[in-house]
Structure formats: structure tokens, C-alpha cells
Amino acid sequence: MADFLSFSHISKTYPGVKALSDVSFGVGKGSVHGLIGENGAGKSTLIRILSGDTAADSGEISIDGSAQHFSSTRDAFAAGVVVVHQELQLVPELTVAENLRLGRFPNRAGIIDFRALKAEVNRRLKDIGLTVDADTKVSKLSLGERQMIEIAKAIMLDARVIALDEPTSSLSSQESEVLFRIIGELRAAGKVIIYISHRLDEIFRLCDGCTVLRDGKLAAHHPSMADVTRDSLVAEMVGREISDIWGWRGRTAGEVRLKVEGITGSKLPHPIGFEARAGEIVGFFGLVGSGRSELMRLVYGADPRHSGRVIIDGGESAGSNPRRSIREGLVLCSEDRKFDGIVQGLSVGENIVISARRHFSPFGVLSLKREADTAAEFIKQLRIRTPSAKQDIVNLSGGNQQKVLLARWLAESGVKVLIVDEPTRGIDVGAKAEIYELLYELAEKGLAIVVVSSELPEVMGISDRIVVMCEGRIAARYERADFNEHAILASALPDRTAGEPNKKAS
């Protein structure tokens, strides 16, 4: 059977980076095809070329036997190719119906025919089994629902090829189930689905075949998933075998460094308390919306506290704003790197020294040499992959950006407590292992570390203790000896009887 969608000899070079070189593979009609690889492997570039967002330097894409030349995303739409990006492209203040037909409103002489619009959209939504009303404003929808609307948009364009970029990264497991069902229906309808995900369990569950990219080259192409194992895929992604990516090792916990007492805030009305000791990694697990990130923001002072105390090293109550917390030795790497982590437009070096520079800037005058030395030291120590410290941080991969954010706090000399929220979200396997190793080294130096994660294997893999949150309260605590996947998951679920089929061990 001839391939419906085929890439042949695609190459693309960005200034200083060979993003793709000579990538060829094909995907048959009515199939779901996984596209995986570490960050920076070239997946996004390939998808951008497929979507018409950027042009390949050489090579071509053909659909149903005819070569395609996209010079814009509009061309790609016309050819039936739609890409659903990780960052959703919806207008929040418009309704679902308006979003779905944006740019193509049914109208008479410029007057929108809302009745026809609504009828059509409701019919379509029903077809794909979504229970969202066409008149709802998108801003009122959950992230998961928005993702579905984005996919509905693709379906309404009568797309023949749909590429989904990390579609489940912000979905709850129920929402993911709905997504998987829709993907199944699209496959049955003869569409080609390109499915990009870091979650290998999803690849195994959904995909008929998959392609692995590494360093811009085709590392492996599997027309079928028979004979493919998780370990073999990971090996193809990183080019080496990784047996145990957690690499946890025992430590002895020392004195209590962080003590949180009865803390409350606008999103967490119930008082919460916990401790973290020197040399200890405390994992916080909970489902999306359980209040983990909100709790850490309160502890750090990023959001105003209503009550409660945060005590560092048995001293006085620590600060209630980020600046005071930093001075007390309490720092936070936040969940959303792009939104409140990196400072876009500033260099890697400046992003590292932004906080620590006050220690070596007499009278507010920068010491360029000390800054360059500090940046160079951490780029080397954390193995941050960047052409130079002067590189704009937005050009780095997610894993390297995360390392820059850790470096920002390591450059602060007096850090006692490090809170990291989702340290490895959107980061590839190789970089994950490096970040875990870094956390262990810091714990061994006597820091108290709090790791928040929604990936249970990760929390279990790296923590000495686990605190489980559920609906804004602490639901359970576990020592490492008592770690049990089912028990932890069960305590994280609001309804203690329900199991969670999707989040199997991976």
C-alpha cells in the first residue's frame, strides 16, 4: 500500500543549527503515527514544515501521491493538513461556534448567520461526542475542553492529515480518554494522525506505527508497533540504553530546614502544614487542580497568604514575598517556564545572574567579569547546551532552559530550601536524568528539596517521602519504604473508590 502522507529527504537549517537532515518516511491512510524524539530532535521543525509555517530547505512532502508546496499555513489548510499546537490558538472572548468557524463565518452580505452557525457547530460537536454548548465562551472552558475544540476545528476543516503536538500535556485522564476515543474515530474515518508525545505509554496505546527522530535525523521508523518495546524506543531516542532513569540513592536526612504551619490563601482555604529536612527530597503528588502549585506559590510568597507561617532553619517566620524568601534562602522554580520562569529576550547568562548579581554589583553597578564568570561556571557545571552565554534564552531547548532556571538559584549562595514545580515537564529523557542527578547532588549538599510533579513514576522514583494532595488538602503521606503506586494514586483521587486506568506504570 502506498503511503498517503510521505516526507522525502526533508532538510532544514537554521542559523547555526541543522534542525533536520534528510528525513524520509511515510504514513498510510487511516492510521495513527507516533513522532517521538528528545527535545531539539527536530519534531517541532518537521511539524512546522508540515503546517506550512516554515519551508524546508530541500525535500518534499506529498499527500495522496501529489507533491505539496506550502508557502503558508493557509496552503496547508487548503491541502487538508491541520496542526494542533501545544499552545492553543483560540480566541478566549469568542464563543465555541465563533472559534470553530473563525475566518469562515456563514454570512449573508457580511451579516453572520448565527442560527446556521450554531446549528452546524452543535451538530459537529455532537458527531464527535463533545458535550460543549456552541454558545459558550472559550474562556469559560477547561484546558481539556479547549484542546477538544482545537481538534474539532481541524475536523471541521475536513482535514486529511491532523498533527497533534503533545495533546495530553494539559489534560486530565478523563479528558485524555475522550481525546483517545476521538482519535480512534478519526482513524476509522481514514484520516492520517501524526501524534507527538513524550508519553510513551500513549504512543503504545494509540499508535499503529512510529518514527523516532534524533539530532535532526531519522533514528528509527517502525511501520508497526509489533516488536517495539519501551526500552528499545528510549534507546533509539537517546542513542544509548537508559535502564533506570531515576538513579535514586539513599541519604540521611538532617535537621528540619523548612517548616510550613497552617498556611492558607485564596485558593487554599484549608490550613496546610508540612516539613522538609536537610538532605531530603520531598515529593508532592496530586492531580491537576489539587492545589500543589498553589501551595508552593504561597510558601514562596508569590501569592498573598491569608494565614500561616513558613520557618526556615528554625528561625523567624520567613518572608511573604519572593524577594524576602530569596534572602531567607527559600527559592522556587515555577511550573510554567515560559510564563513566569525565563525572561525572554535576555541572554542565557543574564537569566542565570538575574537574582545573584546583587551580591557582586557594588552600588548597583554590574561587574561584567563576575557575571560572565558566574554564567560560564554554571553553564559548565550544569552542562547547559548553548553556543554561548550571550545566546537569547528562547533559543534553548526546554531541558536547557530548566537548567538555566536551576542555575539561577544555585548562583544564589545561601539557598537552603529549593522548591521545584514540575521540573521535567516537556523535557526529554536524557535531560531528565541530568536534572534528577542535579537534585540529588543538591540534597547531598544539605539542601531541603521539594519536588512537585504530576507524574507518579517520577515522584516515586526520586522522592524520599511523598505528600499527596487532593482538593486543596494533604490527603496522605508516605515514606519511601511504603511507596505503593496504587495506594498513592488512590489517595490522590477525590473519589477514593475510583481507579485510574490511564496512568499505568510507565
Binding site: R323, S334, F339, L346, I354
Partner: protein, 315 residues
């Protein structure tokens, strides 16, 4: 051709265009490149140049200040009236600087603490302060009693008038602050990503208050020099200055979205506006056309910047 393209679209493209324009004007406009005209040109951009220094910080931190023209007029009035009333120029100057600083501080505090949009806040203070200038003088120009006040603008050092020196010194000071001080780098960080900067321990509210306060102070300096040059306090002075200062910054590559600024760019921007006006004056082109030309220059500069950004493949 490729060389020319690289030159124009490179990092220093604006500077190259400026040099070419300057050379062309020098050749084709008679009596442009004379000492007298050059000093006149610099004199004419003193107000814009001084205000553009701090406007750059405002824009770089993702803010906006529309009240600068009003502050310049108001502080000029204050300087003249306080000098007249007290009989001491020093008292007048201190009063003017204090008033400018105060207005800036109020702007900054409202914007940072009450979280009111900078555009709205300064639109309001722009009108309030202009109103104060008109009320205090009953809408009329106020003459200067002590001729010593004129000396501020008339005195020279090494043959160059004092206001030009002050502008040059401020260029150096703010260039240094932007590039080499924690304050300057934090300004760019706030403009690049305010929330990330706050969580990284930058005192974002404090920074914004400082930026507006310094803006007020610097406007007072410009107001004093302007009053001295026109030998009176004019309540209607410096109307439209806010737009000229923002134009100069944008011409100089300062991003209205924040996070990007360069002192050299702003200086070039100021000079381009000055040269365009000066050359048209020398060619006896009616003043009305100057608005047209200034608008076109601004559009062209922004287009060039856009072409350059996409040419370099950055978003």
C-alpha cells in the same frame, strides 16, 4: 547587493542610514554643516533628547508615559514662578525638580501599587498637570525677573551651550545605567517578562515607581532648560512632546512590547528627528509639512525594523 542588504539590515542598520542621511543633507542642503547650524540643531533637540533618555526606560519596562510634555511645561512654570517669588534662582530650581519628581512618583505609585494601566494613568496626569500649569499662571506666560535665569541656557562651556552639555551628560549617564547597572538590566528583565522577574526576586513595583520618578525628575530638568531658553514660563509649552519622545525611542529600536532598548539607538532617533526638522527649516519648507515627514520617517523606521527582524528569522 548582498553586502548592502547585510549592512542595512544588520544590528547597526539605523546608524548606517543615519550616516548616509547626514552626509546627503550636508551635501545638498546649503549651510547645514556649519558650526552655527550644528549647535542650533543640537539646541533644538535638547528637550526631546533629555526626555527620551528616561522614556526609553519606561518603554523598555513595558510602560508608557504620556505626561512628560505637561510635566516639562509645569516644572518650567514652577521654576520661573518660584524664582520670582523667592528672589532666588536656586529655590526656583529646587522647587521645579521637586515638583517634577513628585508627579513622576505619583505616576509610578498609581501604576505599580494600584495596578492601573500606565497609558490611562499618565493620560490622566498629563491633563491634570497641564491644568495645574494653566491654573497657576492663569493661562498666561510668566516672565523671568532675574536675568541670571537666562544664563542657564545661554552660558557656554568650551564654546558649547550648557543645555547641550547636560543632554550629552544624561545620554552617557543613562547609557551606563541601562547597560551596566542592576537597575538597567532589571528594567529590561521586567519588560521581557514581568512575572518571571518578580519570582526571580526583582522588586518590580519598586522598579516601576523609580522609573517614573526619575522620568519626572528628568522632565523637570528639561522644563527648566526650556523655560530658560524661551525666557519665560509657558503653560502651553512642550505640547506633543510625549509623542516626539516616544517616536525617537521607537526610531532607535526600543520595543513598545518591552525588553529591548539601546541608548545609541535612541540618540540616533533623536538626531534623525532633529535633522529632518532642521533641514526642512533651512530649505524653507512650510512647518506644516514637517508633521508629514516626521510621521513618514517613523513608519519607515518601524518597517525597517520589521524587515530586519523577519530577515534574521527571529519572532
Amino acid at each position: 547587493m548582498a553586502f548592502l542588504k547585510r549592512l542595512l539590515l544588520g544590528e547597526q542598520g539605523l546608524l548606517v542610514i543615519f550616516v548616509i542621511a547626514f552626509a546627503a543633507v550636508s551635501i545638498f542642503v546649503p549651510s547645514f554643516l556649519t558650526e552655527r547650524n550644528m549647535l542650533g540643531l543640537f539646541q533644538s533637540v535638547v528637550t526631546i533628547g533629555i526626555v527620551a533618555c528616561t522614556m526609553m526606560f519606561c518603554l523598555a519596562s513595558r510602560d508608557f508615559d504620556l505626561s512628560v510634555g505637561s510635566i516639562v511645561a509645569f516644572t518650567g512654570m514652577v521654576a520661573v514662578m518660584a524664582s520670582n517669588a523667592s528672589g532666588s534662582i536656586v529655590v526656583g530650581l529646587i522647587a521645579a525638580l521637586a515638583c517634577g519628581t513628585f508627579v513622576g512618583f505619583v505616576n509610578g505609585t498609581i501604576i505599580a501599587k494600584l495596578k492601573i494601566n500606565a497609558l490611562i494613568t499618565t493620560l490622566a496626569t498629563m491633563q491634570i498637570v497641564r491644568g495645574l500649569a494653566l491654573i497657576s499662571s492663569d493661562g498666561r506666560a510668566v516672565g523671568i525677573n532675574d536675568p541670571g535665569f537666562y544664563q542657564l541656557a545661554l552660558s557656554r562651556f568650551l564654546g558649547i551651550p550648557t543645555p547641550i552639555w547636560i543632554m550629552l551628560i544624561l545620554f552617557c549617564v543613562f547609557g551606563f545605567v541601562l547597560n551596566r547597572s542592576v537597575f538597567g538590566r532589571n528594567t529590561l528583565a521586567i519588560g521581557g517578562n514581568p512575572e518571571a522577574s518578580r519570582l526571580a526576586g526583582v522588586n518590580v513595583d519598586g522598579m516601576r515607581i523609580w522609573i517614573f520618578t526619575i522620568q519626572g525628575l528628568v522632565c523637570a530638568v528639561a522644563g527648566i532648560l526650556l523655560a530658560s531658553r524661551i525666557t519665560s514660563g509657558q503653560p502651553n509649552a512642550a505640547t506633543g512632546l510625549e509623542l516626539s519622545a516616544i517616536s525617537a525611542c521607537v526610531l532607535g529600536g526600543v520595543s513598545l512590547a518591552g525588553g529591548r532598548a539601546a541608548m545609541t539607538g535612541v540618540i540616533v532617533g533623536v538626531l534623525i528627528l532633529g535633522i529632518a526638522e532642521n533641514a526642512m527649516n533651512l530649505l524653507n519648507i512650510q512647518a506644516f509639512y514637517q508633521y508629514l515627514v516626521r510621521g513618514l520617517i517613523l513608519l519607515l523606521a518601524v518597517l525597517l525594523d520589521n524587515v530586519r527582524s523577519t530577515g534574521l528569522g527571529r519572532k
